[in-house]
Symmetry: C2
Subunit: 218 residues, 2 copies
DNA sequence: TTCCATTAAAGAAAAATTTCTCTAATGATT
DNA sequence: AATCATTAGAGAAATTTTTCTTTAATGGAA
């Protein structure tokens, strides 16, 4: 079988997943005024192996000093830059329902390099409303607005059964990356980046552990 | 180094992550009236290897029929059950800010076995409000309400720097599992289940691919 | 009925990721 | 100044996860 999204020997995804936590930790230390942080200290905080930390950080440009560690300020800068949180990308969100409007409210996203410029829906009761200064338009206006604004990312927060339709629409109007919050798996051309984020998967993982513990206590 | 959360030879996490998508697919087929589905068909939908599907499903009780596949209805039932979506668990949410209130609005969660019974915050402007019929209390009332209600899960949606404080509080009042939406890593006793869900990690993965593509076009 | 194509399932092989081991460097202590 | 303890970093080993291979079963076509 042909692999659909071949990794071009990039940074391992688990590494990228850990980095925002390194960043959060470093930001905390910066606030506290700590100047240096060792890989051991970061590892303790993360509950992982110290060598994992140095390996992860070796993908960035930062270098640590023996017996001292990494400079906290530099770590914050390097990680923010590396994770793409310093570049602003414009995004459209489709599906201004419960989860969608939630994301619109989350001004945190704008601190991490994501600028949602408009939202779309088919539900007439939400169209015309504004969440956090982001207006909700009818999906039919998607085409016109795509051309006006420089939008690279599409966020899908519609019901799972409509995910593919929305994805097709996004691809048709030139979107480069899709952040899919539905459990549905969408089909798109090879060059489109897709990130599936299913909150319910995380829930399933918790339940699995929780309900297992109930059965076999050991 | 001692592994903090030793897996007791359970189901691989990547498997559990894929299952909600299998479920969504099966539910779609059920709506369309399809009776059987082959591992090949599921694999096509998921863009993964068919043997991955059979291996994943082998962790459940379902067995497929040669040359026919899995019964769709049974698949839906078995997966819902397996993922813990049929058992209702009560949860508290702490931090009714942008992301927190978003989750409160997401009635989807209740369809997946999670019942958020109350929310807490320190911000007086949100206290007393109701989102989706869930009331926001002052964090000081956490103790009293924990005892009244049978709450097994705590959801943390406060700013990263307050995550540990909230986690300590949850542990103190008998919560079994914590769903942590902050990039901060919290320290809890061994027997407490922690699931970290950092939206910004997913964002970082997209940016990584997106910005890399901009540089090295190949 | 007989054969064929398709399928689930089990086990082996490969790939990816994490952990372990070792080395060199250097700030702190004596 | 000399020694020691701690650290980053590189590479090897182990583990985990995915993919490949093989086998057995069986519904449908000839």
């Amino acid at each position: 079988m042909v692999q659909s999204s071949k990794k071009i020997q990039g940074v391992p995804e688990p590494t990228i997943r850990r980095m925002p936590s390194y960043l959060a930790f470093a930001e905390g230390l910066l606030r506290k005024g700590q100047q240096f942080v060792s890989s051991t200290q970061i590892a303790n905080y993360m509950n992982i192996d110290p060598t994992q930390v140095t390996k992860d950080l070796s993908y960035t440009t930062i270098v640590g000093k023996t017996r001292v560690g990494y400079e906290v300020k530099a770590l914050v800068d390097v990680l923010s830059e590396f994770l793409g949180f310093t570049i602003m990308d414009n995004a459209f969100l489709v599906g201004a329902g419960s989860l969608g409007s939630a994301l619109l409210h989350d001004s945190g996203l704008s601190h991490f390099g994501l600028n949602i410029v408009a939202a779309f829906d088919v539900n007439s009761s939400t169209i015309g409303k504004k969440f956090n200064d982001i207006e909700v338009f009818h999906i039919d206006q998607f085409r016109d607005l795509s051309q006006e604004m420089n939008v690279v990312m599409g966020i899908i927060t519609v019901p799972a059964e409509n995910a593919q339709t929305v994805a097709d629409l996004m691809v048709a109007w030139g979107i480069k990356a899709i952040w899919n919050f539905t459990p549905a798996r969408i089909k798109v051309p090879e060059d489109i980046i897709v990130q599936n984020t299913t909150l319910y998967s995380n829930l399933a993982i918790i339940f699995n552990k929780l309900h297992n513990d109930r059965k076999e206590v050991l």
